[in-house]
Symmetry: C2
């Protein structure tokens, strides 16, 4: 079982979209995959059509030990989902710090039997708050989604610097397994420059496949579906299928 974090401190670069669609692609190969929504804004959960009611258990009950994995988990498109819930943002407002420990997720994951899943994906929020730090402490390697914007380059460099600080502190050697361009238009000069910049500094981990701009990805998420369920013949589905295959090679070998 390998645990991969989907991390970029910059907002809106496609972390959630990549997490959902690579997970769905892996499920279609028969691999056992779970995703954990670590963003109190619960976009990943909504993207899979999972919207817990206020009384349903969700990810923070897992972290607090108030509910077990099996109480919480949902199933969609062959993917196991530990959802988050918008109610948590309200909770966040009403008590500063639902928990203030960076390793609650890591501890919660220890109780999962290692052959239960082949892959566990963690969707991280932007910024370097408690939820992101929990993801970084809990995963084996990270995937960094990037869009073609100038600011997302900052997010990547910041993440890289944060990793070395955290690795010292947690006596860890967390590294970047892959960088994925999630909304890339090679015909646009500035995004090509950003791509080249990433290739120069991180060429060995940049995924060959990239995702081009595709309205289908927005539409799919609004229907609570992955691109494979919504529009399996689309270019975006093909791109995400290729990214999943590249990921499998990196994790499992050729």
């Amino acid at each position: 079982m390998i645990t991969l974090g989907f991390c970029n401190l910059k907002g809106g670069v496609g972390k959630t979209t990549a997490c959902q669609n690579i997970a769905a692609a892996l499920a279609r190969t028969g691999r056992k995959i779970a995703v954990i929504d670590m963003d109190p804004q619960s976009n990943l959960s909504a993207g899979f059509g999972v919207i817990p009611s206020p009384t349903d258990p969700q990810v923070f009950d897992l972290l607090s030990g108030g509910a077990s994995w099996n109480d919480i988990v949902r199933h969609k498109e062959g993917v196991d989902i530990i959802p988050s819930s918008l109610n948590l943002v309200m909770a966040e407002l009403n008590e500063t710090g639902l928990f203030d420990d960076d390793t609650v997720l890591r501890d919660a994951l220890k109780s999962i039997s290692p052959d239960k899943y082949d892959y566990v994906f963690l969707d991280s929020p932007p910024q370097l708050g408690i939820f992101t730090r929990n993801v970084l402490a809990a995963c084996d390697k990270i995937i960094v989604p990037m869009d073609g914007g100038f600011y997302s380059l900052f997010g990547l460099r910041l993440l890289e610097n944060s990793l070395s600080v955290l690795n010292d502190r947690l006596d860890n050697n967390l590294e970047i397994l892959g960088i994925l361009m999630t909304n890339y238009n090679p015909r646009v000069s500035i995004t090509r420059q950003i791509f080249d910049e990433v290739k120069k500094s991180f060429g060995d981990v940049l995924f060959e496949s990239y995702i081009t701009q595709s309205v289908g990805l927005i539409e799919a998420s609004s229907m609570g579906l992955s691109i494979f369920e919504y529009s399996p013949k689309s270019k975006a589905a093909q791109c995400y299928k290729e990214v999943a295959e590249e990921l499998i090679k990196r994790v499992e070998g050729e």
Copy 2:
């Protein structure tokens, strides 16, 4: 002097881009405008070409009282800028909570003479962390940038719910002055649906003008310039000029 927060809990919806370019537009009308970068990732500062060295004072020195407004402020395109700095993210990693009070920004702003500026803009990070809460406590009204994505609708609704909780707590009546579509393509059906959804619930505050997708906005920020400096004749510059005029009418009356 009116203080406006640029807020949306969702990442990457154009908060920073809108804050920079509306500020630059206002400066070009001769109005006195300051922007404060409340995001430790300091995108707004970089967008204006301001990158403080590790020893330069920046926004957190203002908040801690370690430096005065005049020690910190920079000047670009007629806009006064209180910059942030990437070093703060590293600081954030090394001591949990640079400060843990939601009203430090509000207090710091009290020492500004009310006729020093006509407008003060606060650029907020995504999520509902300490920096965002400080922005919400410090501003008179908020502007909510939105992209055409399904998840940014969540961010808007979440913000709306958070506002009512915070208003009770801080005995405040913070409200939404405007919602701006920052990257809107009316020809794309899903984004038009999202636009209609916003219009239905928030029609009275939705700006008439919207910004269409424009590579120039990314290019300008990568050069440390507003769109007016980088490409004054572009459609994007025209759109932001119209938004600024609409804002002026709402704040100052017809």
